[in-house]
Protein backbone atom coordinates (compact mmCIF):
# COMPACT_ATOMS: atom_id res chain seq x y z
CA UNK A 1 0.00 0.00 0.00
CA UNK A 2 2.70 2.44 0.97
CA UNK A 3 4.53 1.64 -2.25
CA UNK A 4 1.46 2.50 -4.25
CA UNK A 5 0.97 5.73 -2.38
CA UNK A 6 4.60 6.75 -2.66
CA UNK A 7 4.70 5.90 -6.35
CA UNK A 8 1.92 8.40 -6.93
CA UNK A 9 3.78 11.19 -5.22
CA UNK A 10 6.26 12.98 -7.44
CA UNK A 11 9.54 13.90 -5.78
CA UNK A 12 10.14 17.55 -4.98
CA UNK A 13 11.05 19.48 -8.11
CA UNK A 14 14.74 20.05 -8.47
CA UNK A 15 17.30 21.65 -10.74
CA UNK A 16 20.37 19.56 -11.52
CA UNK A 17 23.45 21.08 -13.07
CA UNK A 18 24.88 17.93 -14.60
CA UNK A 19 28.55 17.12 -14.62
CA UNK A 20 28.92 16.66 -18.37
CA UNK A 21 32.61 17.53 -18.50
CA UNK A 22 33.23 20.70 -20.49
CA UNK A 23 29.75 21.91 -21.44
CA UNK A 24 26.44 22.79 -19.93
CA UNK A 25 23.27 20.84 -19.25
CA UNK A 26 20.66 21.66 -16.61
CA UNK A 27 17.68 19.46 -15.80
CA UNK A 28 14.54 20.75 -14.09
CA UNK A 29 12.30 17.86 -13.12
CA UNK A 30 9.90 16.49 -10.57
CA UNK A 31 10.19 12.99 -11.99
CA UNK A 32 7.05 13.41 -14.09
CA UNK A 33 7.69 16.57 -16.04
CA UNK A 34 11.12 17.54 -17.29
CA UNK A 35 12.65 20.61 -18.88
CA UNK A 36 16.23 20.75 -20.10
CA UNK A 37 18.23 23.93 -20.45
CA UNK A 38 21.10 23.11 -22.80
CA UNK A 39 22.10 19.54 -23.42
CA UNK A 40 25.90 19.46 -23.16
CA UNK A 41 27.99 17.24 -25.40
CA UNK A 42 26.47 14.01 -26.78
CA UNK A 43 26.53 11.06 -24.41
CA UNK A 44 26.19 12.42 -20.84
CA UNK A 45 22.56 13.58 -21.13
CA UNK A 46 21.59 10.21 -22.62
CA UNK A 47 23.28 8.36 -19.77
CA UNK A 48 21.66 10.65 -17.20
CA UNK A 49 18.18 10.18 -18.64
CA UNK A 50 18.63 6.43 -18.92
CA UNK A 51 19.85 6.20 -15.34
CA UNK A 52 17.05 8.46 -14.05
CA UNK A 53 14.29 6.62 -15.88
CA UNK A 54 13.20 9.80 -17.67
CA UNK A 55 11.88 9.09 -21.16
CA UNK A 56 9.71 12.14 -21.88
CA UNK A 57 10.92 15.70 -22.10
CA UNK A 58 8.42 18.52 -22.07
CA UNK A 59 10.72 21.27 -23.29
CA UNK A 60 14.34 21.58 -24.32
CA UNK A 61 15.67 25.14 -24.28
CA UNK A 62 18.99 25.88 -25.97
CA UNK A 63 20.70 29.01 -24.71
CA UNK A 64 22.80 29.50 -27.84
CA UNK A 65 24.43 27.60 -30.68
CA UNK A 66 27.72 26.30 -29.25
CA UNK A 67 28.49 22.60 -29.53
CA UNK A 68 29.12 22.10 -25.82
CA UNK A 69 25.56 23.28 -25.17
CA UNK A 70 23.64 21.70 -28.04
CA UNK A 71 25.26 18.45 -29.21
CA UNK A 72 23.38 16.43 -26.61
CA UNK A 73 20.10 17.36 -28.29
CA UNK A 74 21.34 16.03 -31.63
CA UNK A 75 22.19 12.76 -29.90
CA UNK A 76 18.95 12.75 -27.95
CA UNK A 77 16.79 13.18 -31.06
CA UNK A 78 18.87 10.71 -33.08
CA UNK A 79 18.63 8.04 -30.40
CA UNK A 80 14.86 7.65 -30.80
CA UNK A 81 14.70 6.60 -27.15
CA UNK A 82 13.17 9.77 -25.77
CA UNK A 83 10.12 11.81 -26.68
CA UNK A 84 10.62 15.55 -26.93
CA UNK A 85 7.53 17.73 -27.03
CA UNK A 86 9.08 21.11 -27.70
CA UNK A 87 12.43 22.65 -28.61
CA UNK A 88 13.11 26.34 -28.13
CA UNK A 89 16.17 28.11 -29.50
CA UNK A 90 17.31 31.22 -31.27
CA UNK A 91 18.31 30.97 -34.91
CA UNK A 92 21.91 31.94 -35.43
CA UNK A 93 23.05 32.69 -38.96
CA UNK A 94 26.55 33.45 -37.72
CA UNK A 95 26.96 29.80 -36.78
CA UNK A 96 27.38 28.06 -40.07
CA UNK A 97 28.84 25.17 -38.18
CA UNK A 98 28.53 21.48 -38.86
CA UNK A 99 27.25 21.12 -35.31
CA UNK A 100 24.33 23.43 -35.99
CA UNK A 101 23.63 21.65 -39.30
CA UNK A 102 23.62 18.27 -37.58
CA UNK A 103 21.05 19.48 -35.07
CA UNK A 104 18.91 21.05 -37.77
CA UNK A 105 18.89 17.69 -39.59
CA UNK A 106 17.63 15.83 -36.51
CA UNK A 107 14.97 18.43 -35.73
CA UNK A 108 13.80 18.23 -39.33
CA UNK A 109 13.71 14.41 -39.19
CA UNK A 110 11.72 14.44 -35.95
CA UNK A 111 9.32 17.04 -37.29
CA UNK A 112 8.64 14.90 -40.37
CA UNK A 113 8.13 11.68 -38.46
CA UNK A 114 6.57 12.75 -35.20
CA UNK A 115 5.11 15.67 -33.36
CA UNK A 116 7.73 18.16 -32.28
CA UNK A 117 6.87 21.71 -31.48
CA UNK A 118 9.72 23.93 -32.55
CA UNK A 119 10.21 27.58 -31.63
CA UNK A 120 13.08 29.45 -33.20
CA UNK A 121 12.63 32.47 -31.01
CA UNK A 122 13.62 32.82 -27.39
CA UNK A 123 13.74 36.18 -25.68
CA UNK A 124 13.16 38.25 -22.58
CA UNK A 125 9.65 37.79 -21.25
CA UNK A 126 9.15 34.18 -22.39
CA UNK A 127 8.07 31.73 -19.71
CA UNK A 128 8.59 27.96 -19.78
CA UNK A 129 6.55 26.05 -17.22
CA UNK A 130 7.34 22.72 -15.63
CA UNK A 131 3.90 21.12 -16.15
CA UNK A 132 1.99 20.16 -13.03
CA UNK A 133 4.18 22.24 -10.74
CA UNK A 134 4.60 25.86 -9.76
CA UNK A 135 8.11 25.90 -11.18
CA UNK A 136 8.69 28.22 -14.08
CA UNK A 137 11.67 29.21 -16.14
CA UNK A 138 11.64 32.87 -16.87
CA UNK A 139 13.72 34.07 -19.82
CA UNK A 140 15.39 37.36 -18.91
CA UNK A 141 17.74 37.68 -21.90
CA UNK A 142 18.30 38.31 -24.73
CA UNK A 143 16.19 41.42 -25.11
CA UNK A 144 14.22 42.13 -28.28
CA UNK A 145 16.51 44.80 -29.64
CA UNK A 146 19.47 42.43 -29.95
CA UNK A 147 17.40 39.40 -30.96
CA UNK A 148 16.16 41.39 -33.93
CA UNK A 149 19.64 42.27 -35.16
CA UNK A 150 21.09 38.90 -34.22
CA UNK A 151 24.65 37.58 -33.88
CA UNK A 152 27.17 39.03 -36.30
CA UNK A 153 25.63 42.50 -36.18
CA UNK A 154 26.51 45.37 -33.85
CA UNK A 155 24.29 46.96 -31.24
CA UNK A 156 23.29 50.63 -31.14
CA UNK A 157 26.59 51.53 -29.46
CA UNK A 158 28.68 49.67 -31.99
CA UNK A 159 29.44 46.62 -29.84
CA UNK A 160 29.77 43.44 -31.83
CA UNK A 161 27.10 40.86 -31.00
CA UNK A 162 28.27 37.27 -30.88
CA UNK A 163 26.36 34.06 -30.22
CA UNK A 164 27.45 34.40 -26.60
CA UNK A 165 26.09 37.98 -26.40
CA UNK A 166 22.69 36.55 -27.28
CA UNK A 167 22.84 33.64 -24.84
CA UNK A 168 19.52 33.04 -23.19
CA UNK A 169 19.63 33.82 -19.48
CA UNK A 170 17.02 32.03 -17.42
CA UNK A 171 15.70 32.40 -13.89
CA UNK A 172 14.43 29.17 -12.32
CA UNK A 173 11.58 30.18 -10.05
CA UNK A 174 9.23 28.41 -7.68
CA UNK A 175 6.71 29.85 -5.23
CA UNK A 176 7.78 33.28 -6.39
CA UNK A 177 11.39 32.71 -5.34
CA UNK A 178 14.31 32.70 -7.74
CA UNK A 179 16.36 29.64 -6.90
CA UNK A 180 18.89 29.88 -9.68
CA UNK A 181 19.98 31.86 -12.68
CA UNK A 182 21.34 29.99 -15.71
CA UNK A 183 23.51 32.17 -17.89
CA UNK A 184 24.63 30.08 -20.87
CA UNK A 185 27.79 31.63 -22.28
CA UNK A 186 26.80 35.24 -21.60
CA UNK A 187 29.62 37.68 -22.42
CA UNK A 188 30.37 41.32 -21.60
CA UNK A 189 28.08 42.71 -24.30
CA UNK A 190 25.24 40.42 -23.23
CA UNK A 191 25.75 41.44 -19.63
CA UNK A 192 25.62 45.12 -20.57
CA UNK A 193 22.21 44.61 -22.16
CA UNK A 194 20.98 42.45 -19.29
CA UNK A 195 21.94 45.11 -16.74
CA UNK A 196 20.36 47.76 -18.92
CA UNK A 197 16.95 46.06 -18.74
CA UNK A 198 16.90 46.76 -14.99
CA UNK A 199 15.43 43.40 -14.02
CA UNK A 200 15.74 41.96 -10.54
CA UNK A 201 18.09 39.01 -11.03
CA UNK A 202 18.82 38.10 -7.42
CA UNK A 203 18.97 34.33 -7.08
CA UNK A 204 20.21 31.76 -4.59
CA UNK A 205 22.53 30.11 -7.10
CA UNK A 206 24.41 31.54 -10.06
CA UNK A 207 25.39 29.05 -12.74
CA UNK A 208 28.31 31.01 -14.09
CA UNK A 209 28.57 31.70 -17.83
CA UNK A 210 31.11 30.19 -20.20
CA UNK A 211 32.23 27.56 -17.70
CA UNK A 212 34.32 30.16 -15.89
CA UNK A 213 36.33 31.05 -19.00
CA UNK A 214 37.02 34.54 -20.28
CA UNK A 215 34.10 36.85 -20.85
CA UNK A 216 35.45 38.14 -24.13
CA UNK A 217 38.14 40.60 -23.07
CA UNK A 218 41.37 40.92 -21.11
CA UNK A 219 41.79 39.26 -17.68
CA UNK A 220 41.03 42.54 -15.96
CA UNK A 221 37.74 42.87 -17.81
CA UNK A 222 36.85 39.25 -17.04
CA UNK A 223 37.38 39.97 -13.37
CA UNK A 224 35.13 43.01 -13.64
CA UNK A 225 32.56 40.98 -15.59
CA UNK A 226 32.48 38.36 -12.84
CA UNK A 227 32.23 41.05 -10.19
CA UNK A 228 29.34 42.85 -11.87
CA UNK A 229 27.37 39.71 -12.61
CA UNK A 230 27.84 38.26 -9.13
CA UNK A 231 27.01 41.55 -7.44
CA UNK A 232 23.81 41.75 -9.45
CA UNK A 233 22.71 38.20 -8.61
CA UNK A 234 23.89 38.16 -4.96
CA UNK A 235 24.03 34.37 -4.86
CA UNK A 236 24.81 32.12 -1.91
CA UNK A 237 26.51 29.68 -4.30
CA UNK A 238 28.15 29.88 -7.71
CA UNK A 239 28.40 26.77 -9.89
CA UNK A 240 30.94 26.31 -12.69
CA UNK A 241 30.00 23.60 -15.17
CA UNK A 242 33.44 22.73 -16.49
CA UNK A 243 35.59 19.81 -17.55
CA UNK A 244 38.95 18.82 -16.13
CA UNK A 245 41.71 19.14 -18.72
CA UNK A 246 39.75 21.42 -21.04
CA UNK A 247 40.59 25.13 -21.18
CA UNK A 248 41.83 25.28 -17.56
CA UNK A 249 38.57 26.68 -16.23
CA UNK A 250 37.57 28.40 -14.08
CA UNK A 251 40.03 31.23 -14.59
CA UNK A 252 41.53 32.75 -11.42
CA UNK A 253 40.42 36.28 -12.34
CA UNK A 254 36.84 35.05 -12.59
CA UNK A 255 37.01 33.55 -9.12
CA UNK A 256 38.55 36.83 -7.89
CA UNK A 257 35.66 38.82 -9.31
CA UNK A 258 33.08 36.47 -7.82
CA UNK A 259 34.69 36.58 -4.39
CA UNK A 260 35.11 40.34 -4.52
CA UNK A 261 31.38 40.75 -5.09
CA UNK A 262 30.21 38.20 -2.50
CA UNK A 263 33.12 37.16 -0.25
CA UNK A 264 31.29 34.38 1.58
CA UNK A 265 29.87 32.76 -1.55
CA UNK A 266 30.14 28.98 -1.91
CA UNK A 267 31.93 27.95 -5.09
CA UNK A 268 31.20 24.57 -6.66
CA UNK A 269 32.90 23.30 -9.81
CA UNK A 270 31.41 20.18 -11.35
CA UNK A 271 34.88 18.78 -12.08
CA UNK A 272 38.26 19.13 -10.43
CA UNK A 273 40.24 21.86 -12.15
CA UNK A 274 43.89 21.05 -12.83
CA UNK A 275 44.57 24.53 -11.42
CA UNK A 276 43.47 23.14 -8.04
CA UNK A 277 44.89 19.62 -8.18
CA UNK A 278 47.54 18.32 -10.57
CA UNK A 279 46.45 14.71 -10.00
CA UNK A 280 43.03 13.24 -9.38
CA UNK A 281 42.59 11.61 -5.97
CA UNK A 282 43.66 7.98 -5.51
CA UNK A 283 40.31 6.93 -4.15
CA UNK A 284 36.82 7.83 -5.29
CA UNK A 285 35.10 10.64 -3.38
CA UNK A 286 32.24 9.88 -1.03
CA UNK A 287 30.45 13.22 -1.14
CA UNK A 288 29.00 12.94 -4.67
CA UNK A 289 25.26 12.65 -5.23
CA UNK A 290 24.06 9.19 -6.26
CA UNK A 291 23.13 10.43 -9.72
CA UNK A 292 25.01 10.63 -12.97
CA UNK A 293 28.30 12.55 -13.02
CA UNK A 294 30.54 12.16 -16.04
CA UNK A 295 33.72 12.43 -14.02
CA UNK A 296 32.86 9.89 -11.34
CA UNK A 297 34.56 6.88 -12.97
CA UNK A 298 37.75 8.79 -13.73
CA UNK A 299 37.67 10.48 -10.30
CA UNK A 300 37.61 13.84 -12.09
CA UNK A 301 34.70 15.27 -10.09
CA UNK A 302 34.89 18.08 -7.60
CA UNK A 303 31.25 18.76 -6.68
CA UNK A 304 30.08 16.49 -9.54
CA UNK A 305 26.47 16.99 -10.51
CA UNK A 306 24.93 19.74 -8.37
CA UNK A 307 21.27 19.57 -7.38
CA UNK A 308 19.13 22.38 -6.02
CA UNK A 309 15.87 21.39 -4.39
CA UNK A 310 13.23 23.87 -5.55
CA UNK A 311 11.17 23.72 -2.37
CA UNK A 312 13.79 24.29 0.29
CA UNK A 313 15.80 27.47 0.48
CA UNK A 314 19.54 26.84 0.57
CA UNK A 315 19.34 23.12 -0.20
CA UNK A 316 22.26 22.85 -2.62
CA UNK A 317 23.66 19.33 -2.95
CA UNK A 318 26.18 17.89 -2.44
CA UNK A 319 26.18 19.64 0.90
CA UNK A 320 28.90 22.19 1.56
CA UNK A 321 30.49 20.26 4.47
CA UNK A 322 31.22 17.07 2.52
CA UNK A 323 32.35 19.01 -0.52
CA UNK A 324 34.67 21.17 1.60
CA UNK A 325 36.21 18.10 3.21
CA UNK A 326 36.88 16.65 -0.25
CA UNK A 327 38.51 19.91 -1.40
CA UNK A 328 40.71 19.95 1.69
CA UNK A 329 41.88 16.40 1.08
CA UNK A 330 42.16 16.31 -2.72
CA UNK A 331 43.57 19.68 -3.76
CA UNK A 332 46.84 21.51 -3.25
CA UNK A 333 45.92 24.93 -4.60
CA UNK A 334 42.15 25.24 -4.46
CA UNK A 335 41.04 28.37 -6.31
CA UNK A 336 37.86 28.54 -4.27
CA UNK A 337 39.84 28.83 -1.04
CA UNK A 338 42.29 31.50 -2.12
CA UNK A 339 41.94 34.92 -0.57
CA UNK A 340 40.85 37.79 -2.77
CA UNK A 341 43.52 40.33 -3.70
Amino acid sequence: MSTLISSNIAPAPSLSILDVGHGSCCVVTDGRSTVLVDTGPGAPILEYLLESGIRELDTVVLSHADSDHIEGLTSLLASNKFSVRRVMLNSDASKDSRVWGNLAYEIDQRRRNQTLEFTSQLREGDIVELPGTDVELSIVAPRDRIVITGPGATDADGRRLTSNSLSAVILVRAQGRSYAILTGDLDEVGLFHLVDTGQDLRSDVLVFPHHGGTAGGAPRSSEEFAYQLTRMVQPAAVVFSMGRGRYSNPRPEIIQGVRRAVPAVRIACTQLSERCAIEVPDVGPTHLLPIYSRGSQSRSCCAGTVRIVLTAVGDVQPRAEGHAAFIASATETPLCRQATI
Binding site: A43, E47, D68, R98, G101
Partner: protein, 223 residues
Protein backbone atom coordinates in the same frame (compact mmCIF):
# COMPACT_ATOMS: atom_id res chain seq x y z
CA UNK B 1 44.47 -24.06 -12.66
CA UNK B 2 41.33 -21.95 -12.94
CA UNK B 3 39.92 -18.57 -12.06
CA UNK B 4 36.38 -17.60 -11.08
CA UNK B 5 35.32 -14.43 -12.92
CA UNK B 6 31.91 -13.15 -11.89
CA UNK B 7 30.09 -16.50 -11.75
CA UNK B 8 31.99 -18.07 -14.63
CA UNK B 9 34.78 -20.59 -14.11
CA UNK B 10 37.67 -20.03 -16.52
CA UNK B 11 40.34 -22.69 -16.92
CA UNK B 12 41.62 -23.01 -20.47
CA UNK B 13 42.40 -19.98 -22.66
CA UNK B 14 42.75 -20.64 -26.39
CA UNK B 15 45.62 -18.78 -28.07
CA UNK B 16 45.01 -17.95 -31.71
CA UNK B 17 48.04 -16.33 -33.37
CA UNK B 18 49.89 -17.10 -36.57
CA UNK B 19 53.28 -16.53 -34.89
CA UNK B 20 54.47 -19.59 -32.94
CA UNK B 21 56.70 -17.38 -30.80
CA UNK B 22 53.76 -15.17 -29.81
CA UNK B 23 51.68 -18.20 -28.90
CA UNK B 24 54.50 -19.31 -26.64
CA UNK B 25 54.88 -15.90 -25.05
CA UNK B 26 51.13 -15.52 -24.43
CA UNK B 27 51.19 -18.98 -22.93
CA UNK B 28 53.51 -17.80 -20.16
CA UNK B 29 51.24 -14.85 -19.39
CA UNK B 30 48.23 -17.13 -19.22
CA UNK B 31 50.03 -19.53 -16.90
CA UNK B 32 51.04 -16.64 -14.67
CA UNK B 33 47.35 -15.78 -14.37
CA UNK B 34 46.68 -19.29 -13.02
CA UNK B 35 45.03 -20.34 -16.25
CA UNK B 36 45.82 -23.08 -18.76
CA UNK B 37 47.09 -22.02 -22.20
CA UNK B 38 45.69 -23.94 -25.13
CA UNK B 39 47.78 -23.20 -28.18
CA UNK B 40 45.97 -23.37 -31.50
CA UNK B 41 48.74 -24.45 -33.83
CA UNK B 42 46.76 -24.34 -37.07
CA UNK B 43 46.04 -24.39 -39.85
CA UNK B 44 42.55 -23.38 -38.81
CA UNK B 45 40.91 -23.15 -42.23
CA UNK B 46 37.89 -20.92 -42.75
CA UNK B 47 35.94 -19.33 -39.92
CA UNK B 48 33.02 -21.69 -40.44
CA UNK B 49 35.30 -24.69 -40.37
CA UNK B 50 36.99 -23.53 -37.22
CA UNK B 51 33.79 -22.64 -35.40
CA UNK B 52 31.86 -25.72 -36.57
CA UNK B 53 34.61 -27.87 -35.25
CA UNK B 54 33.67 -26.77 -31.73
CA UNK B 55 36.70 -28.48 -30.29
CA UNK B 56 38.15 -25.27 -28.86
CA UNK B 57 35.03 -24.30 -26.95
CA UNK B 58 34.99 -27.80 -25.49
CA UNK B 59 38.52 -27.39 -24.13
CA UNK B 60 38.70 -23.67 -23.37
CA UNK B 61 36.43 -21.18 -21.65
CA UNK B 62 38.05 -18.04 -23.08
CA UNK B 63 40.26 -16.85 -25.93
CA UNK B 64 43.19 -14.60 -26.75
CA UNK B 65 43.52 -13.73 -30.40
CA UNK B 66 45.75 -11.69 -32.73
CA UNK B 67 44.21 -9.65 -35.58
CA UNK B 68 46.41 -10.79 -38.46
CA UNK B 69 46.17 -14.55 -38.86
CA UNK B 70 47.14 -15.05 -42.47
CA UNK B 71 50.87 -15.86 -42.24
CA UNK B 72 51.80 -19.40 -43.26
CA UNK B 73 48.14 -19.98 -44.22
CA UNK B 74 47.36 -20.19 -40.51
CA UNK B 75 43.74 -19.05 -40.90
CA UNK B 76 41.46 -17.74 -43.63
CA UNK B 77 39.84 -15.18 -41.36
CA UNK B 78 40.88 -12.25 -39.20
CA UNK B 79 41.07 -12.13 -35.43
CA UNK B 80 38.31 -9.50 -35.41
CA UNK B 81 35.99 -11.91 -37.22
CA UNK B 82 36.81 -14.71 -34.81
CA UNK B 83 36.51 -12.72 -31.57
CA UNK B 84 33.22 -11.11 -32.64
CA UNK B 85 31.81 -14.52 -33.56
CA UNK B 86 32.91 -15.97 -30.26
CA UNK B 87 31.20 -13.05 -28.49
CA UNK B 88 27.92 -13.85 -30.21
CA UNK B 89 28.25 -17.39 -28.89
CA UNK B 90 28.82 -16.07 -25.37
CA UNK B 91 32.52 -17.00 -25.42
CA UNK B 92 34.73 -14.28 -23.85
CA UNK B 93 37.90 -13.34 -25.74
CA UNK B 94 40.40 -10.51 -26.06
CA UNK B 95 41.69 -9.17 -29.35
CA UNK B 96 45.39 -8.61 -28.77
CA UNK B 97 47.14 -6.71 -31.55
CA UNK B 98 49.58 -3.89 -32.31
CA UNK B 99 46.78 -1.85 -33.80
CA UNK B 100 47.45 1.10 -36.04
CA UNK B 101 45.01 3.50 -37.62
CA UNK B 102 44.50 1.43 -40.77
CA UNK B 103 43.92 -1.70 -38.72
CA UNK B 104 41.39 0.06 -36.50
CA UNK B 105 39.34 0.85 -39.58
CA UNK B 106 39.25 -2.88 -40.36
CA UNK B 107 38.41 -3.80 -36.79
CA UNK B 108 35.70 -1.11 -36.31
CA UNK B 109 32.88 -2.96 -38.13
CA UNK B 110 33.35 -5.84 -35.65
CA UNK B 111 34.16 -3.73 -32.58
CA UNK B 112 30.59 -3.83 -31.29
CA UNK B 113 31.22 -7.50 -30.49
CA UNK B 114 34.80 -7.06 -29.27
CA UNK B 115 34.65 -5.67 -25.73
CA UNK B 116 38.41 -5.52 -25.19
CA UNK B 117 41.17 -4.53 -27.58
CA UNK B 118 44.63 -4.70 -26.06
CA UNK B 119 48.19 -4.21 -27.29
CA UNK B 120 50.65 -7.08 -26.77
CA UNK B 121 52.94 -4.78 -24.80
CA UNK B 122 50.10 -4.12 -22.36
CA UNK B 123 49.20 -7.75 -21.86
CA UNK B 124 50.08 -8.98 -18.37
CA UNK B 125 48.43 -11.54 -16.14
CA UNK B 126 46.51 -8.68 -14.49
CA UNK B 127 45.29 -7.03 -17.70
CA UNK B 128 44.41 -10.45 -19.10
CA UNK B 129 42.17 -11.25 -16.15
CA UNK B 130 40.68 -7.73 -16.08
CA UNK B 131 40.00 -7.94 -19.81
CA UNK B 132 38.26 -11.29 -19.48
CA UNK B 133 36.23 -9.85 -16.61
CA UNK B 134 35.17 -6.99 -18.89
CA UNK B 135 34.04 -9.45 -21.54
CA UNK B 136 32.12 -11.62 -19.10
CA UNK B 137 30.52 -8.58 -17.47
CA UNK B 138 29.27 -7.37 -20.83
CA UNK B 139 28.02 -10.83 -21.83
CA UNK B 140 26.27 -11.48 -18.53
CA UNK B 141 25.30 -8.08 -17.14
CA UNK B 142 25.28 -5.66 -20.06
CA UNK B 143 27.11 -2.69 -21.44
CA UNK B 144 29.12 -0.23 -19.43
CA UNK B 145 28.41 3.38 -20.52
CA UNK B 146 31.51 3.60 -22.73
CA UNK B 147 30.36 0.53 -24.66
CA UNK B 148 26.61 1.17 -24.70
CA UNK B 149 25.12 1.40 -28.20
CA UNK B 150 23.03 4.40 -29.16
CA UNK B 151 21.40 5.25 -32.44
CA UNK B 152 23.52 8.11 -33.77
CA UNK B 153 23.73 10.37 -36.77
CA UNK B 154 26.65 9.78 -39.13
CA UNK B 155 27.64 12.76 -41.25
CA UNK B 156 29.73 12.04 -44.35
CA UNK B 157 32.19 14.86 -44.87
CA UNK B 158 34.79 14.14 -47.50
CA UNK B 159 35.95 11.38 -49.80
CA UNK B 160 39.46 10.19 -49.04
CA UNK B 161 41.44 10.56 -52.24
CA UNK B 162 44.24 8.34 -50.92
CA UNK B 163 42.30 5.11 -50.82
CA UNK B 164 39.67 3.75 -53.13
CA UNK B 165 36.59 3.51 -50.92
CA UNK B 166 37.54 5.70 -47.96
CA UNK B 167 35.25 8.42 -46.63
CA UNK B 168 35.76 10.73 -43.66
CA UNK B 169 32.77 10.98 -41.34
CA UNK B 170 31.88 12.67 -38.08
CA UNK B 171 29.60 11.32 -35.38
CA UNK B 172 27.72 14.28 -33.85
CA UNK B 173 27.73 14.01 -30.10
CA UNK B 174 30.96 12.01 -30.00
CA UNK B 175 34.30 13.86 -29.93
CA UNK B 176 33.54 17.20 -31.65
CA UNK B 177 36.97 17.53 -33.25
CA UNK B 178 37.43 13.91 -34.29
CA UNK B 179 36.85 12.71 -37.81
CA UNK B 180 37.19 9.03 -38.61
CA UNK B 181 37.69 7.22 -41.89
CA UNK B 182 35.39 4.40 -42.87
CA UNK B 183 35.39 2.11 -45.88
CA UNK B 184 32.28 2.25 -48.05
CA UNK B 185 32.58 -1.50 -48.57
CA UNK B 186 31.77 -1.91 -44.88
CA UNK B 187 28.35 -0.28 -45.41
CA UNK B 188 25.22 -2.18 -46.47
CA UNK B 189 24.85 -2.50 -50.24
CA UNK B 190 21.79 -0.22 -50.39
CA UNK B 191 23.57 2.67 -48.63
CA UNK B 192 26.84 2.66 -50.58
CA UNK B 193 25.44 4.30 -53.75
CA UNK B 194 23.75 7.06 -51.72
CA UNK B 195 26.91 8.27 -50.05
CA UNK B 196 28.20 11.67 -51.11
CA UNK B 197 29.62 14.69 -49.31
CA UNK B 198 27.18 16.01 -46.67
CA UNK B 199 25.10 12.79 -46.73
CA UNK B 200 23.66 11.88 -43.35
CA UNK B 201 22.25 8.64 -42.06
CA UNK B 202 22.00 6.73 -38.80
CA UNK B 203 23.83 3.81 -37.26
CA UNK B 204 24.48 2.31 -33.84
CA UNK B 205 27.59 3.55 -32.03
CA UNK B 206 28.98 3.69 -28.52
CA UNK B 207 28.69 7.43 -28.15
CA UNK B 208 30.57 7.54 -24.84
CA UNK B 209 33.67 5.84 -26.28
CA UNK B 210 36.72 7.68 -25.01
CA UNK B 211 39.18 6.85 -27.80
CA UNK B 212 38.87 6.40 -31.57
CA UNK B 213 39.98 2.76 -31.33
CA UNK B 214 37.06 2.05 -29.00
CA UNK B 215 34.38 3.52 -31.25
CA UNK B 216 32.22 1.10 -33.19
CA UNK B 217 29.65 1.67 -35.92
CA UNK B 218 27.14 -0.98 -36.92
CA UNK B 219 23.48 -1.54 -37.87
CA UNK B 220 23.44 1.17 -40.52
CA UNK B 221 20.08 2.62 -41.53
CA UNK B 222 19.29 3.91 -44.97
CA UNK B 223 17.68 7.37 -44.91
Amino acid sequence: MSVQLLNQQIDGVAIVDDEPQSRKSYGYTIENADLTPISENGPLGTLDQYLQNGAVEARAQAGLCDFQLSARAYAAFSGAQLVSNWYRRGFPALLCTRFEKAQIERIRPYRRWIPVLIKPAELTEDTLVMGLEECIHELQVGFRPTRRPWRVQVHFLLKDEDINDGFFVEIPGWEPNEVIRIHLSDLPDDIQPLVREDYRCHAQANLAAEYPEDLYLCDWERE
